[in-house]
Symmetry: C2
Subunit: 332 residues, 2 copies
C-alpha cells in the first residue's frame, strides 16, 4: 500500500523515456552506487559541460516521492531523518537523503562525530546519503541540490528526503521543491529560535513535534494546532488539512504515524490533482534558479573582463551595481 | 578620533557628486526620516521603475563604516547590536541598523514583544532602524538589503550595522558586504547550533564572545583563539590579526573594547589599502545579485507566457529546467 502511494504520485508522468546511450547514465539507472556518486559530483560542478547528460537524466526522474524536512537548529530533525529512513526501509522502500543542513550528521555535523550515530543506516544498500557543501562560490546551491535529488530519483530510490535547516531564503526555497514538506518543531527552544521558526511554519504540509517524551511537548503541539485553527499559518490553497504529529525519535514513537501521514499526503496530491499545481510551482522555481546560475556563471567566468571594467566604473561611482548588471546582461 | 576613523575609510572615494534635482533624494541627503523610509520602500519594491533614482542615490553613498553582525539564533547578537549602538552614539556618531534576522527584536522578533527592549534606542533621532522581510517572492533580499544600507549611508549615518542570522547562503553573502564583519558566539549552545556556527566563523574580522558573565564563556574564547592560531578559521588574505573580544551586553562589559576594535579595523583597511580589494569584492557580489534580480524579474513577469509554455514542456519531460532557463535567457 505504501509502495502504491509512491507510484500513484507519478500517474501524470509521460511514457518511459528511451534507453540511454550514455554509459554513466545507464549505470545510474541500474542504481550502481559509484556511478550515482559520480553523476552527483558532475551535478555539483558549475559549468555547462554536463548539461546534455543532466537533461537526459531528468527524463528518467519523476517517480520518487520527494519529502522536504526542515526545522531550526536543535529541533531534532536529523535524528528524525534517521528514524524516518529506518521506518520507510521496513516497508521495503529505498531512501535517498540530500542534506544541506550544516548541522546535520549527514554533512557538517560529522565534524562533531555525529556521523557515528548514523552508522545504523549508512551500511544499508537501500539508503543513499549525500551532503551538499553550503559555502563557497556565490549561489548554485538550490539547483545542485535538486539535481542531486533527481539523480536519486532516476537511480530508483523510492523516497527522496531533502533535509535543510529552516533558515535562509535559498534553503527554504529548496525544501519547498518537495512534494511533501515536513516542519519539525521541538519543545523548549529559546524565544529567538522560536521566532525564526515562525517564518517557516507556513510552508508545512505536516507539522512534527519532536521530543514528545518531554513534558512541554504537549504544549508545543497545542500551540501549533491553535495556530492552524486560527489560520495564522497554512497557505489555504490546498484542501489538505495540515496535521500535527508528535514523535519521539529516541523511543521510535510516532514514526509509524508519520510515515503513514506522508503516504496519505502523497495520495491526497494525486487524488485531488493538486500534484499538478505543485509540479508547476516546483518547475518554475527550478527554471528561475537555473537562469540565475547561468547568468552568474556567464558574468563571473566568461565575462570576467567586462565585469572588472564595470567594477572599476562602480568604484569611481560612474555607475551603480544595478545598472552595471543591466549593462552586462544586455551585452551578453 | 573615532569620527576620523569613519572618514578615513573613505579616502579612496571620488569627488562629491553634484546636488540632486530629485526632491525625495534631496530630503534623504538632508537626513529627513520620513523621506529615508520612503526611499527604502522604493528600494524594497521590485521593478526597474526607480533605478535611475537609486543610481543617483548610490553616488552619495560610500562614507559610512558598514559593520556586518552575524551569529546563530541564541548567540545574543541582537542584544549586542543594541549595546553597540548605544556605545557608538556616546561618541557622537549616528547609527543605522538593517536587520534581516527574523529572530531580531528589530524585525520578526517584535511578535514576541522584544521590541519593548529596543525602546531605549528607538526614540533616539541619531538612530535609524529598518527590518527587512525575509519571505515572499523568490530572491531579491540581498540587493534590497544593501540598497537600504546605502540609503542610510547617503542619509549621513556614520555607522551602518547589517544584522543577519548566520545561516543561509544569501544571509552570509549579505553580511560579507560589510567593511567589518563581526561573528558573535555564545557559550553553552548545543552541538547542532555550534556546528552551524562553524560555517560562518571563517568570515569574521572580529570574533565576539557574548554572555561573558557566564562561567563557560572563557572556554568559548579559548576555543576560538586556538582555532585562529591553528589557522583552521580565517582567510589568510589579510594582514589583520582577527581578535576575540569578550563582552557582556547585560553588564555593558567589553562593549567599549568592541567599538575600539571596530574602529581599529576600519583604520587597518585604509592604512593597508585592503579597503580597495574589499570594495571590489563587495561590488562584484552586488553586481551578480543585481543581475540575478533582473533576470528573475524578466522571467517571472515580462516573460510569463514563455515561462508557462516551458513549464508545460518540462512537465511533459521534453526539456529539463536548466535548458528551459537557457532558452528563456537567449530569447530575452
Amino acid at each position: 500500500m505504501a509502495e502504491a502511494t509512491v507510484k500513484s504520485t507519478s500517474t501524470t508522468q509521460p511514457t518511459t523515456p528511451p534507453a540511454s546511450d550514455n554509459p554513466l547514465l545507464v549505470e545510474v539507472l541500474e542504481g550502481r552506487r559509484k556511478s550515482v556518486a559520480r553523476m552527483m559530483s558532475l551535478a555539483e560542478s558549475t559549468g555547462e559541460a554536463n548539461r546534455a547528460l543532466m537533461a537526459e537524466m531528468h527524463r528518467h526522474a519523476g517517480r520518487a516521492h520527494v519529502v522536504g524536512l526542515t526545522g531550526v537548529p536543535g529541533s531534532g530533525k536529523s535524528t528524525m531523518a534517521r528514524a524516518l529512513t529506518q521506518k520507510i526501509r521496513e516497508s521495503g522502500r529505498t531512501v535517498g537523503i540530500v542534506a544541506i543542513d550544516p548541522s546535520s550528521p549527514f554533512s557538517g555535523g560529522a565534524i562533531l562525530g555525529d556521523r557515528i550515530r548514523m552508522a545504523d543506516i549508512t551500511g544499508d544498500p537501500g539508503v543513499f546519503i549525500r551532503s551538499m557543501a553550503t559555502r563557497g562560490e556565490l549561489g548554485g546551491l538550490a539547483r545542485a541540490t535538486l539535481d542531486v535529488a533527481d539523480i536519486m530519483d532516476a537511480a530508483g530510490y523510492d523516497v527522496v528526503i531533502i533535509e535543510t535547516v529552516g533558515v535562509g531564503q535559498d534553503e527554504v526555497d529548496v525544501v519547498q521543491a518537495a512534494h511533501t514538506v515536513i516542519v519539525v518543531s521541538a519543545p523548549g527552544l529559546g524565544d529567538e529560535v522560536q521566532a525564526i521558526k515562525a517564518g517557516v511554519l507556513e510552508i508545512a504540509d505536516i507539522h512534527v513535534v519532536s521530543k514528545s517524551d518531554r513534558p512541554d511537548a504537549r504544549q508545543t503541539a497545542i500551540n501549533l494546532r491553535s495556530m492552524l485553527k486560527l489560520g495564522s499559518i497554512g497557505s489555504g490553497l490546498s484542501t489538505w488539512e495540515v496535521p500535527v504529529v508528535s514523535t519521539s525519535a529516541q523511543n521510535s514513537e510516532g514514526i509509524d504515524k508519520l510515515v503513514e501521514t506522508i503516504d496519505t499526503h502523497g495520495r491526497h496530491l494525486t487524488d485531488t490533482g493538486e500534484i499538478e499545481g505543485r509540479r508547476r510551482k516546483i518547475l518554475e522555481m527550478r527554471i528561475v534558479k537555473a537562469a540565475e546560475d547561468i547568468v552568474r556563471e556567464r558574468i563571473l567566468h566568461k565575462g570576467r573582463d567586462k565585469l572588472e571594467r564595470l567594477i572599476d566604473r562602480s568604484l569611481a561611482q560612474q555607475i551603480d551595481p544595478y545598472n552595471a548588471a543591466a549593462v552586462l546582461l544586455d551585452d551578453s
